[in-house]
Symmetry: C2
Subunit: 469 residues, 2 copies
């Protein structure tokens, strides 16, 4: 494709996206496709000769859109949001155009330095402890996802607690344990399995039915029991904004117990953490000065397209110890000088895209003020929604609302609640998903699309009321 062809088709692609956002509300939120619909419509064999780009755009409308669940729809209230925004889309477009691979500082110094810089900026915007900034032994990096971040936290923890022995010897016959609350995201169990510890190494603390969070006393008891049995506590993971109900673990107390036992403290605030751009939500940061690593995802609720997972460590040495290997073909004078960061040693993949560009673009377009407004607007809408739930006797709140997440259910029980969800989702008018709270089904109403306005939340509530028995 020549630069002139690119210009022409590029304008058309930009127009397609602008038009998509203008007509977003005309689509059913949840795709109504059946398994195999798209594959049956696609040619069984790849084309022998090139086709015009116009054909791809036409097929996007006729074949792909019916199979899309519209995550950017203003009435998408499922899971957690996956924010896109104009400046993020365009920042990522520019990164695609440059097509650089920033595995080493030397392979594009700006890709590395901009990433370090915007993660320092983001740490400042969120008022994170200074130990996560890059001017000391710590620093930030963009990971692919919070699951990848949980995995590297496990690896750094094992490296530190083993005194580096896992690097050559693996986990071996040594027994390690990882501790987290039962409400913590499944990524922690997945990380334990990937890291060779197995699911049995994960101790799941019961959820306190009062606070919906982990109890520090339970953690202390487990740590003591394991140490008495010759098992080494490697890592404690605390959740700030757990997936089910948005619960915020008592990080300070959990971290204190973990540190006394010599374990690494990882705080997973994948969804909620970015809310700390607004000072009134900085209670989310309580105890972070005791954490060894911290993760929050601008790609969830801070207007930055997937993938953009911000991960910080207070001390990068154990992370690099766990992950760095230097084959001959990657040796270079900048790396050997020790004056630069090579981000390939901070995560699983070697190759890396210039993802900092989209985060830079977002932080500059919105500014701190715009980011605060984005978060505050959603939280206010959630509070209003929760008040409506509380006022309708057919409904009940399943847990205290957290930020922009409301969990609720029908008083009539699980079957009625699931049937209500099925009905509204199939209508296409909105999309929400469920969880289990205190042994009973609950629906999660997660507000987060940049397109969501008061009228969409009100319409969703009316649809829920109209479908409720």
């Amino acid at each position: 494709m020549t630069p002139e062809e690119f210009r022409r088709h590029g304008y058309a692609a930009i127009d397609w996206i602008a038009d998509y956002y203008e007509r977003l509300e005309t689509f059913p939120v949840l795709s109504q496709a059946k398994p195999g619909d798209l594959r049956a419509a696609l040619p069984p064999h790849p084309p022998e000769y090139g086709e015009p780009f116009e054909q791809v755009l036409a097929d996007l409308d006729s074949l792909i859109l019916p199979g899309i669940t519209h995550w950017q729809h203003p009435s998408f209230f499922a899971y957690f949001p996956a924010n896109a925004s104009g400046p993020a889309i365009l920042g990522d477009l520019l990164a695609s155009g440059l097509g650089v691979q920033g595995m080493l500082w030397a392979t594009s110094p700006a890709a590395t330095e901009l990433e370090t810089h915007v993660l320092d900026w983001l740490a400042e915007l969120l008022d994170l402890p200074a130990r996560f900034r890059s001017d000391g032994p710590g620093g930030g990096v963009i990971q692919h996802s919070a699951s990848d971040a949980a995995l590297v936290a496990v690896l750094a923890a094992l490296h530190r607690v083993s005194g580096g022995r896992t690097e050559r010897g693996g986990v071996g016959a040594e027994r390690y344990a990882v501790y987290t609350c039962a409400h913590t995201h499944s990524s922690v169990e997945k990380a334990c399995r990937i890291a060779g510890l197995g699911a049995d190494a994960l101790r799941k603390l019961d959820v306190d039915p009062e606070t919906m969070t982990a109890r520090p006393d339970d953690l202390r008891a487990l740590l003591d029991a394991d140490r008495a049995a010759g098992i080494t506590p490697a890592l404690v993971v605390a959740s700030v904004g757990a997936t089910g109900t948005g619960a915020v673990d008592p990080v300070r107390a959990l971290a204190t117990a973990a540190r006394e036992a010599g374990a690494w403290v990882h705080v997973d605030a994948a969804w909620a953490g970015v809310a700390a751009v607004a000072p009134e939500f900085r209670y989310l940061n309580d105890g972070l000065e005791l954490a060894d690593s911290y993760v929050t995802n601008p790609h969830k609720w801070l207007l930055t397209n997937f993938d953009c997972d911000a991960f910080w460590v207070a001390d990068r040495a154990p992370l690099l110890g766990a992950l760095s290997i230097l084959p001959e073909y990657l040796r270079n004078s900048a790396t050997e000088s020790g004056a630069v960061t090579d981000y390939r040693d901070w995560h699983v993949p070697l190759g890396r895209r210039f993802r900092a560009l989209k985060l830079w673009s977002v932080l500059r377009w919105y500014g701190a003020e715009g980011l605060r407004n984005h978060i505050r607007g959603h939280v206010a809408l959630a509070q209003e929604f929760a008040s409506w739930v509380a006022a309708d006797e057919r409904f009940e709140l399943a847990a205290a609302p957290q930020l922009a997440l409301v969990t609720f259910r029908l008083a009539a029980g699980d079957d009625a609640t699931l049937e209500l969800m099925r009905r509204v989702n199939e209508s296409g008018a909105l999309y929400l998903t469920h969880t289990v709270v205190g042994g009973a089904v609950a629906l999660r109403f997660a507000i987060g699309s940049p397109q969501t306005e008061h009228r969409h939340v009100a319409a969703a509530w009316h649809a829920l009321q109209a479908s409720a028995p």
Copy 2:
């Protein structure tokens, strides 16, 4: 950013990229930035108020470009290529615009089905064994990188060889071994460390100085010795197009030995594999019908922007066994019907971008014919470059040229060869990197940029000749 603002700034971003490709040759290939240059030029604090997008584009020119090593430059001959192309950039742009998260089939059926479909297409284009297609127990998935693919191959291998015991018990006191050639990419050692086996579990087969590949007899001897010592062979990794010299391991013989020992066979053809779009290079596929998993990267040499790593398994059950966890908040009727694929269970992350869109766009824009021409053009240029090297008595080939990679050195030895590299790289006229072959330094001349023409290769050779002592 409103749709109308997006349209305006989007056109500007498209223009910036088109202009960038038009002036690409005016830049030094290797960035001449010094550590800290960019950070010193950036504001120390994030902006309080939003800034115009024009400012981001202006800073891209003035601040970012001096710190870019231009991977798309026609005179970029370093590492392996990281291909970008118009249809890939635009396919990825459309994916950003849609902003869907395809962790489950239900969260955007088209994202999953298009991915399965284009990986079947790609398997057909490369003439891979039918067992990797999705109509049987196998199938393909897009991974973030070949390092991620190596990791999941280790995990699937451990799951299978342990009869599923690693899922709960981890690697434990059991001793497992992984086998590969010393020239294999460092990602395999990294995967062993991440998976809890440690670097000591990796057996590195010596490189045969004649063929530059692993010797099946050596593998057999190691497998036998390990089994006699009570160590379980888990995985054998064969390289097709190793990073240093592009060497192609004898996959059939290695895989036969591996299978006899019950080990998983993973074939890493990250760079070279895509060359099989042209029938004359299908010798690269020899023995693949014995492999359990196979990886090649369209993001290296098949015109598709990073990240797009194509990974296939012959049997998806051990992969899913190693990686799937189903928490309540991800339960849905499509998953429970068993009629759909949920790609979250095929890799480390949970969230996933709609990456199939860019690969679809590339396969359609170029067609099989265009892809063959892309590969053939580079291979022909490399053959000509190798003939020039062979004809100049100051130079020598360090290994037989492989596809579009030529490894060579100065007869005057390591210091002279490294000094030559330093000189041409600092000139900005071209960029190439080094490796070690047979104990001596060698330079790697890897042709792969879609922009590279005969005149760029000729100019690079003239620059090398002019700088050689």
